[in-house]
Amino acid sequence: MTYKMFFAGSGGQGVLMMGQAIAYAAMMEGKEVTFMPSYGPEMRGGTANCTVIVSDKPISCPLINEADAVVVMNPPSLTKFESMVSPGGKLFVNTSLIDFAPTRTDVEITDIAANDVAKDIGLARSANIVMLGAVAQGVGIVSAASVRKVMSKLFSGSKAHLLEPNLKALDVYLKGE
């Protein structure tokens, strides 16, 4: 089974980090994985996006025609990338910043007010982690325990103090083991 995901937003929203976390978690579970970011001037304040593929067999192409799950963090990303969701696939929408509805009717839409939720728990900068929890829970491609383990690797050393608050943000939507 091969699962293809696409994360999009603006630079600084932590979009690439969300994709990397899923990729790390899948690798720790012994799955095959590729992570392909957009790069170049786009990185500096423009749009940022990445493709993550998780599979139980070697992955030939790290690029995708369509995705089983698309995560959009800002309005232009929804407009540009909602067409990428495969029919029956999943679309995660950050409704804190996106105030219009997707046009697709053949996909499963999950609305997450990531920035508002993050603010409510006092972690305004962790909107991406809130969304990551919702995505991990929603797609079920990696276990909750693996994602939490990735957090402890990402937030270690000089960033160790950030681990606990980010686990809190992650666990708003990520349940179980």
């Binding site: 392909m36 192409c61 790290p62």
Partner: protein, 361 residues
Amino acid sequence: MSEKVLMKGNEAFGEAAIRGGARFYFGYPITPQNEVPEFMSRELNKRGGQFVQAESELAAVNMAYGAAAAGGRVFISTSSPGFALMQEGMSFMASAEIPVVAMNVSRGGPGVGGIQPGQADYFQATRGGGNGDYHIPVFAPSTLQEAVDMIYEAFEIADKYRNPVLILADGMMGQMMEPVVLPEQKEQLQSEDIASRKPWALTGWGGKEKRSTVVSLHMKPDVLEECVEKLFVKYRAAEKELVRYETHDLEGAQVVFVAFGTMARIVSEAMEMLGEQGIKAGMIRPQSLWPYPYCAFDEIDTATTKVVISTELSMGQMLQDVNIGVCGRWPTDLIYRTGGIVPTSLEIVERTKKILEGLKK
């Protein structure tokens, strides 16, 4: 075997070079390989080597020439326009028989071009971008694991042939992340051991039997001819020993793709999609671009194959080699995107079907 780690391509390239024993890296910023010099500046000094940010690719390649002439194990990396500047050094190093491993994380061209992935440096890489009669072995990985393994081995090849070796990747491989198993750290050649291990290298002649000089000037034509012929004895051996390729599903194939690097990955997905539509496709994946695996084309299924398609991120540069390999036995065609555009597997499927329809007419 060590465990898998998830690494960005450019960082994996640097790590593979350090583990391959590289102690010296000279680089200049150019997208999409900036993470290589950044990684080397973080890692190399604390792991017994030296990183130097050169003032240009011209200087970087000549620092590499000097350091390798002095017996150091040297890695350099750049991207397309930067590699154009390095050609002076590649020619000099080939002439003076200096081993260096170079990496081109290539992008779209010509000129400044763009920063997205490209394979339009094929001629520059395989035909010798510098002046004179020489060759550079060129290896083209298509996964990060393969890139790591190729870089690791490239130092041994460079030393064995006393010639520069090029790893040709592209922006996609530099930027993507994939799990890799890293090889063991090789023993680093320390400066004080160079004179005994590499007697040809420049160390000062104290304690040596013979004074070393590193030269590429031969004013007398007969002497120069002799030197070039000596290089070509080496290249003839390399043509036999360094040919590398993979073939996939050639038996019973109607269409045979030829693709390397990033394109080979997209083609393998397109092959699956074509198979689902009842079109049997195979692939030749050159891993060495010089020497080119012309012999691979002898494995094509004569009974079933209707067309051989060079699939590349350039305007048919590799098609020339494909035509040499095919040698008139099948029709050939080209599927390309250029300028930094990487085609989708769907696009390759559609174009392939059009080519097959065209053959029926």
